[in-house]
């Protein structure tokens, strides 16, 4: 409680945080150090690493290294926006559902569970079919996918808090539900929500990267890491770096987030594991 950065004391937490910071810095600021224009061909396609192109060139002759330095920003920012939106919605719904002891709770939860009847990727594909490919669709689509699970977790945590004696003391004082939620409940549900947030963010990144990989998200010539993998994988035997370098970056990012999440979970005394979204025995 007193050391917010206590999670850094665990080895996984420190390692994870370090990796994440590294990758995010590369993604956000790498472009200012790129030797070449990411969209301009600089040489023979699929040539090996050279002094001019440290990771060789891709299938159109563009510098892989420069594209790498440009390629992370969109995924991270879109994933961040989508996750934040999902939390805004999920927190609202979850708090309301968890705190109410009336019909509101099952009503909200059933409505939200509807969306859990789909594989997440499928839902996003349906939305893309209907609304086309754009950054807005990606953000809103991923938020819609994540919000139900978040609201479930928030709801469960809120239900646990709502019956605590200190909440009842506030009710007996006649405080308004909004004040109670804000003052008494919210600070105590942060722990499980925080532990979950690492997985959520990773999941957003994975989904968006997957959609980009399928060519249904960001479009060429965008220097996105997932797109790079998709575009160059036919030629993996010629210049494998064009595929492996962006793959490594994605891997580092998500593994880093998970390690950090694990470290946070440990420091809070919890386990870093996605709970099942549905329990039969409620």
């Amino acid at each position: 409680m007193t050391g917010r950065l206590r999670f850094l004391r665990s080895s996984s937490g420190a390692l994870g945080a370090g990796i994440v910071v590294f990758v995010v810095l590369v993604a956000l600021f790498g472009r200012y150090f790129a030797p070449h224009d990411p969209s301009a061909p600089i040489g023979v396609p699929l040539s090996d690493a050279s002094s001019d192109a440290w990771l060789g060139t891709d299938f159109l002759g563009r510098d892989v290294f420069s594209r790498l330095l440009y390629g992370g920003r969109s995924v991270i920012l879109i994933a961040l926006a989508a996750t934040l939106l999902a939390y805004a919605v999920g927190l609202g719904i979850g708090l309301m559902a968890g705190y109410s002891r009336s019909f509101v709770d099952p009503l909200l939860m059933r409505s939200v569970d509807v969306l859990l009847a789909f594989p997440p990727l499928l839902l996003l594909l349906i939305l893309i079919t209907g609304a086309g490919t754009s950054v807005a669709v990606l953000i809103i689509g991923v938020a819609i996918i994540q919000a139900p699970a978040i609201s479930r977790i928030v709801r469960t945590a809120t239900q646990v808090e709502a019956v605590r004696a200190y909440v009842e003391a506030a009710i007996a004082r006649g405080e308004r539900p909004l004040a109670i939620l804000g003052r008494e409940v919210m600070p105590n549900i942060l722990a499980p929500v925080l532990v979950d947030s690492g997985l959520r963010f990773t999941f957003s990144i994975l989904i968006i990267a997957s959609v980009n990989f399928l060519g249904l998200g960001l479009q060429p010539p965008s220097p996105d890491w997932a797109l790079m993998i998709s575009e160059n994988r036919e030629y993996i035997s010629v210049n494998s770096l064009a595929v492996l370098a962006p793959a490594a970056m994605i891997a580092l990012l998500t593994i880093g987030i998970n390690l950090t999440g694990d470290g946070i979970a440990r420091s809070l005394g919890r386990s870093y594991v996605p709970r099942t979204s549905r329990t039969v025995i409620e």
Binding site: V114, L122, T129, A131, I236, V280
Partner: protein, 337 residues
Amino acid sequence: MTTVAAPVARSREASPLLRFAGRRLLGAVVALFVASLVIFAGTQLLPGDAASVVLGRNGNPATVKLLHQQLNLDRPAWQQYVDWITGLLHGDLGNSAVGMAQGATSAPIWPLISDAVVNSVILALITALLMIPLSLGLGVVAAVLRGKWPDHVISVASLAAIALPEFVIGSLLIGVFFVGLDWLPPVAIVAPGASPLDDPEKLVLPVATLLLASLAAGIRMVRAGMIEVLQTEYVQTARLNGVSERRVLWRYALRNALPTSVQILAQNLQWLIGGIIITENVFAYPGIGSTLVVAVQNRDLTLVMSVSMLIAVVYVLLNLVADLFVMLLVPKLREPA
């Protein structure tokens, strides 16, 4: 804390079971109904006109109007929905919008996808048959040997694997086993009409990719569930009364960790469906996932709708089966509420 003992009515033991199953079945039907609404609404979100989008550059007022009629797009939305649903219930999946747009008089969907469905089912079954015992086995081992090196290895490996998307895993595997070692083919193309089992070598990497992606999450959750059970009071009491460790692990720990594990595995199998879409694409495997992606790229509305509905049915069925399993495993649920 005196609780009143619930009388055991042997003769009525059947009905709570049936009632529970009935409730779940009803829930499944409702879920499918709502899913169909979501699918319908989602694909029809287009601000513009659906037919124009499908036709793309080939669109001119005449062709658009023709396609409208062929696809019944000139009817009100609710009517289209009802038509579609009644068609589905009769086994008619409709016509492919792209096919119609190319001038055919009818382009029924089922023949287009039947091969793909079979291929995907084969891929999914093989993966599932491997994933279930491996998840359970490794998860339990990690929990029982908690703190010792097998647990550390399993935990770290799964923490890493859980983070990687299927296309990264697939690409890395291709990099190692094809580019590096040249042991396995990088693609799993199957000729139409042929069975993927004719050349099982092709299936190895796709299955491995799917396995690695789904095992990680499953193992971590099974492990967590098992650890929770191992720390219960009843496990300790049994041990303190001398019950053999083997019996304790099987009948006291594992048996009570199963309900949660079943739900975990069901959820994993559901994730598998999403993973199949990507993995088929990575390996150019002609399954339902590839079909879906192509359909989305072409904006083939009706095809996307029908395939999505099929997938939703499988999804909901998995939940139902899992719930029934859990009910059989947990004696308390068989009581009248």
